[in-house]
C-alpha cells in the first residue's frame, strides 16, 4: 500500500479496517524522517522509541474501543512552542535550550485522548517571531518544494513536515499568519481558529491576545477533523470560549452556489507578486464558475494593519518574554557579576536578533510617555479594523485573500530587511487582530513551481462556513501535487 498517498483520515480508516496497523503508519513516518530530514530539518526532536510504544498501545485501544475517533492512530508533529510533559520545549530559542515542562499543554491531553501518536517537535522561528523559520536558534528548515527556499514561518517546521510526508498532521500556532503563510509556501492546508476556540494553556506565549494553536494537514477534511479534536473550552485558559458548534467535520459538503465572497481591493494593489495574483484570480474564477458570488470591496484600514499588529504583538511579547531571565529554568550566562549583570548577559546571549528587536520595540511602545501615542493608538486602530471586518461580514459569508504577497523566498533573503519581512504579513495579521478564523488552501503555483495558497476568512465562530467553502473549492480545484511530485528535485 502506498502510505504516502493517504490523508490522515484515510490512514485512520484503514487502521480501523485492519488493513494497516498503527505501527505501520508510525514506521512509515520515521522512514520518511530518516530519508528527508537531512535536507529539510523540519524537526527539532523526534520520539521514535516512545512513538513505537505508543503505537502499540493505541492499536490495542482502537481494538478494545478506547479510541474511536476519526484520527486514532495517526502520527502527528507538534510545534516546539507547545509543552509536552517531560519533553524539551525550546521555542527554537537558546534561552530554553534545556527547558523540560512538567505539564502538558491542553491540546496535548486532547490529542492523547483521541489516540493520536506524537512523533516529535517541529522547528519554528524563535518564539514564533519571524516569517521564514530562519530565526530558529537550531538551524533553518528548508522548503520541501525547493530546498533553496524557506518554508515560511513561524510554523515552518510543522508545514514542511506535512509537505515532505514526514508526518500526516501537525500542530502549529498562528499569531500573525504563522500557520496560514507557511501553509501557503509549503502547499499544505492550515487553519487559524477563532480566538478562544483552542486552549492556549501550555502554548508558550508570544502575543497572548493574538495567539491560537491550529491544525496543519494535507487537506481541508484532515484539518477540520484535527480542529474538532483540539477545540473546546478549557477552564485553565481564561480567554477560552464556551462554544457549542465544534462539530467542524459535520455538514462540510455543500454547494458554493449563492455563497457570497468578498475580496478587499487593497489586498490586490501594489506589492502583490503578479504570479501570486494570477493564481489567486484563477481560484476566484473557480469559485464564480460554481455559482458563488465574488465581489471586490474596499478595506480602508488595510495600511494600518501592519503597524497596529506589530505594536500590539511586540508590546505583549516584551512582557511575555520577561520570565526568561536565567533564574528559574533555561539558559543562564556562564559568567556574571551580580543579579543585573546575570539578567543582562543571559538575555543578550539567550535571545536571537529578531526576538531582541521585538522586545525592544514592545518595551518602547509601552514606556511611559509613549504608551498613549503607540500602544493605546494601536488598540484603537485594532477596534477600527474590527469594525470594518464586521461591516464586511454583514455583506459577505467569506472574505478571500492571498496568504502572502509572494511565494517562498530564498534562504537568507528575508532577514536582511526586517521591515520588508514585516510587510509580507499584510494579508494575515488582521485576522489575528480581529480574532477571526482563517484557512489557507493551495490554489496554484508560480513559474518556479512554488505553491501559492488562497486564504479564506470567516467571521468569528464561522469556521464551518470557511471549511465548507474551502472543501468545495478544493474539490473543484482537483488534486494538488505533493512536494515530491511537483517540487523541484533538490
Amino acid at each position: 500500500m502506498d502510505l504516502e498517498k493517504l490523508t490522515a483520515l484515510q490512514l485512520a480508516e484503514k487502521i480501523k479496517q485492519h488493513q494497516i496497523s498503527v505501527l505501520d503508519g508510525v514506521k512509515h513516518v520515521f522512514e520518511q524522517i530518516e530519508k528527508k530530514e537531512p535536507k529539510i530539518h523540519a524537526y527539532l526532536d523526534t520520539y521514535k522509541k516512545e512513538a513505537y510504544a505508543r503505537a502499540k498501545q493505541v492499536q490495542k485501544g482502537i481494538e478494545d474501543g478506547t479510541y474511536t475517533g476519526p484520527l486514532a492512530g495517526v502520527p502527528i508533529a507538534i510545534k516546539d512552542n507547545i509543552c509536552i510533559k517531560g519533553k524539551t520545549t525550546t521555542c527554537a530559542s537558546k534561552i530554553l535550550e534545556n527547558f523540560v515542562p512538567q505539564y502538558n499543554a491542553e491540546v496535548i491531553d486532547r490529542l492523547e485522548r483521541a489516540g493520536l501518536v506524537i512523533i516529535g517537535k517541529t522547528n519554528m522561528d524563535e518564539f514564533a517571531m519571524g516569517s521564514t523559520t530562519e530565526t530558529s536558534a537550531y538551524g533553518v528548515t528548508r522548503n520541501p518544494w525547493d530546498t533553496e527556499h524557506v518554508p515560511g514561518g513561524s510554523s515552518g517546521g510543522s508545514c514542511a513536515a506535512v509537505a515532505a510526508g514526514e508526518t500526516y498532521l501537525a500542530l502549529g500556532s498562528d499569531t500573525g499568519g504563522s500557520i496560514r503563510q507557511p501553509s501557503s509556501f509549503c502547499g499544505v492546508t492550515g487553519i487559524k481558529p477563532t480566538y478562544g476556540t483552542v486552549s492556549r494553556y501550555g502554548l508558550v506565549a508570544y502575543a497572548s491576545s493574538l495567539d491560537q494553536i491550529g491544525p496543519v494537514g494535507k487537506d481541508v477534511a484532515d484539518c477540520a477533523a484535527l480542529l474538532e479534536i483540539i477545540a473546546g473550552h478549557d477552564t485553565k485558559d481564561s480567554t477560552s470560549i464556551e462554544r457549542q458548534d465544534l462539530n467542524f467535520t459535520k455538514d462540510m459538503e455543500g454547494k458554493l452556489m449563492g455563497m457570497k465572497f468578498g475580496v478587499p481591493k487593497e489586498y490586490l494593489a501594489e506589492g502583490l507578486n503578479p504570479e501570486v495574483k494570477a493564481a489567486f484570480m484563477d481560484a476566484l474564477k473557480i469559485l464564480s464558475q460554481q455559482g458563488a458570488i465574488v465581489e471586490f470591496f474596499s478595506m480602508k484600514t488595510t495600511e494600518y494593519m501592519i503597524p497596529a499588529y506589530y505594536i500590539i504583538a511586540s508590546a505583549e511579547a516584551s512582557s511575555n518574554l520577561e520570565r526568561f531571565d536565567g533564574v528559574k529554568y533555561g539558559y543562564r550566562a556562564k559568567e556574571y557579576e551580580g543579579l543585573h549583570d546575570m539578567y543582562k548577559k543571559t538575555r543578550t546571549e539567550g535571545f536571537g536578533e529578531e526576538v531582541k528587536r521585538r522586545i525592544m520595540l514592545g518595551s518602547f511602545v509601552l514606556s511611559s510617555g509613549y504608551y498613549d501615542a503607540y500602544y493605546l493608538k494601536a488598540l484603537k486602530t485594532k477596534a477600527l479594523i474590527k469594525q470594518e471586518f464586521d461591516r464586511a461580514f454583514e455583506k459577505y459569508d467569506v472574505l478571500l485573500a492571498p496568504a502572502a504577497p509572494y511565494t517562498a523566498p530564498k534562504l537568507g533573503e528575508s532577514l536582511k530587511d526586517p521591515l520588508a519581512m514585516y510587510l509580507g504579513d499584510i494579508y494575515t495579521v488582521a485576522v489575528n487582530l480581529c480574532g477571526l478564523p482563517g484557512i489557507t488552501v493551495p490554489c496554484g503555483m508560480d513559474s518556479a513551481g512554488l505553491p501559492v495558497g488562497i486564504q479564506m476568512i470567516g467571521d468569528c465562530f464561522m469556521e464551518k462556513k470557511i471549511l465548507r467553502a474551502a472543501k468545495e473549492y478544493e474539490t473543484c480545484r482537483g488534486t494538488f501535487p505533493t512536494a515530491e511530485e511537483g517540487g523541484r528535485k533538490a
Binding site: 527547558f99 515542562p101 492556549r200 497572548s208 509601552l366
Partner: protein, 479 residues
Amino acid sequence: MKQYETIIGLEVHVELATKTKIFCGCSTEFGGAPNTHTCPVCTGMPGSLPVLNKKVVEFALKAGIAANCQINQYCKFDRKNYFYPDNPQNYQISQLYLPICHDGWVEIETSAGKKKVRIHEMHMEEDAGKLIHDEWEDCSLVDYNRSGVPLIEIVSEPDMRSSEEVIAYLEKLRCMMQYLGVSDCKLQEGSMRADVNLSVREAGTEKFGTRTEMKNLNSFKAIARAIEGERERQIELLEMGRPVIQETRRWDDNKESSHAMRSKEDAKDYRYFPDPDLPPIHISDAWIQELREAQPELREEKQQRYQEEYGLPAYDAGILTESRSLSVLFEKTAELCGNAKKAANWFMVEVLRLMKEKSMDPEEVSFAPKHLADLILMVEKKEVSAQNAKKVFEIVFDEDVDPVSYIEEHGLKIVEDTGLLNEILNKIMEENPGPLAELLGGKEKVFGFFVGKMMKELKGKASPDAVREALNKEIEKRR
C-alpha cells in the same frame, strides 16, 4: 523654630484570606516548606495561564463596600513589569487603569475626636515570593509559596496629620478587614503591610511639601517611630535651608533611622498595560446588592447593640468589640449562659487578664464558649464557688477542658448534702472540745474559728452560707 504640619498618606497592602491563590489553585497557607505551595502558574512557567479566583473579587468588593467606596463595575487587570527574582514572571498582575474600588472613606477616632480619612482607591494584585539570602553559601534562594497570594492595596488620600491618626487608621482598617472576614491582618506574618508617604509644610500654608515614601514597616510601633523620625528629618532639612528629595526610603527599626533606596530620577518605568491573559471583570448590580445585604455587622454597629441590647457600658462594649474573634466568643458565651452582663464581666476581667499575662492576641484565644457558659451557670446555681470557678477557668482557657466534668472529677462541686456537712462538723467539734465548750457557752468569737476550719476541710465545696447554717443548727441542737 517654625511650626510644621505633617501630611501623611498610606499605601496599605492587605493579604486576603482566600483558601487558594489569586490565579491558581495553590494553598495560601502561611509557612510550609519552601516551594511546596506552588504550581506552573505561580512559578511563572512558560505556557501557564492565570485564572482569576472569584473569591478575591468578592473579598475586595466587601472591603470596598465597607470603606464606602465607588465600585468600578467594569474593571481590568494590568501587568506591572519589573525584573526581580521574587517575581517569577517578572511582571506583577495588578490594577492600574481601572481599580476595583475608588473614592471611599473611613472614620477614625483619636484623642482629638472623630475624623474621616478618604480612600483614593483599592486594587487587587498578586503577592511576590520571598528571597532568602544564604550568607553561608553566598547565594540567594527563592520561595514562591507566597507568590500569587491575593492582596488588596488600599491607597489613602494625604489626610492624616500625626502618627496617632495613622495608627488609628490602620487599626480601623485591620478591625474592618477582620470583621469582614477578608483578612487576618497579621503584621508579623506580613498579611498587613503599610508604606508611609510623608511630607511636612509650615503650619498655615496650603501647598504640600515634597514627600518621601517609607518602606519596611513591620509593626504599629515601627510605623509610629518611622513617622516621628521622618518628620524630624524633613524639618531639620528645611530648617537648614536644604530641600527634601522625593525618594523611597527604607526604615531600620533597630537603628531607628532610614536610608534612601531610590530617588524619583531612577524611579522605574513599569510599562503597565492591560493583561491580555485575563478578560475584563464585569461586576453586576445584583452581586453588589447581594454583598451589601450580606455585609456582617461591623464594629460600630456591634458596639451600639451591646449597649442597647445587653445594657453594657460604652467602655466595655468598646473593649469587647475591638477584635471580631473575641466579640464572637463573647456573644456565643452570652447566648449560651443567658446572661450577657455576667459573660461580659468574665471577659472584661478574666479573659483579658489571662490574655495579657500570656501576651496573646485575641485571635489566639480558642476556648469553647460553651465551656465558659457552663462555668458561669454553675456559679449561678452555686454549684461551684466563685473562687474555684476562676481557677477552673484558667484551665479552660489553656486547655479548653469541659468544666462540668473537671469540677466533678476534682471534687470541687459544692456539697448540698447536709449529711456530709454535719459529719465533718461533728468531727471538728470532737477534735476541738475546748472551743466547742466556748461556742456553746455563747462566745461569738469562736463561731468564726469553726467556719474557718470547716471551709478548709471542705476545700470550697460548700458555700460559707451553707456552713454557717449547718453550724447554727448544730449549736441549737447541742444547747
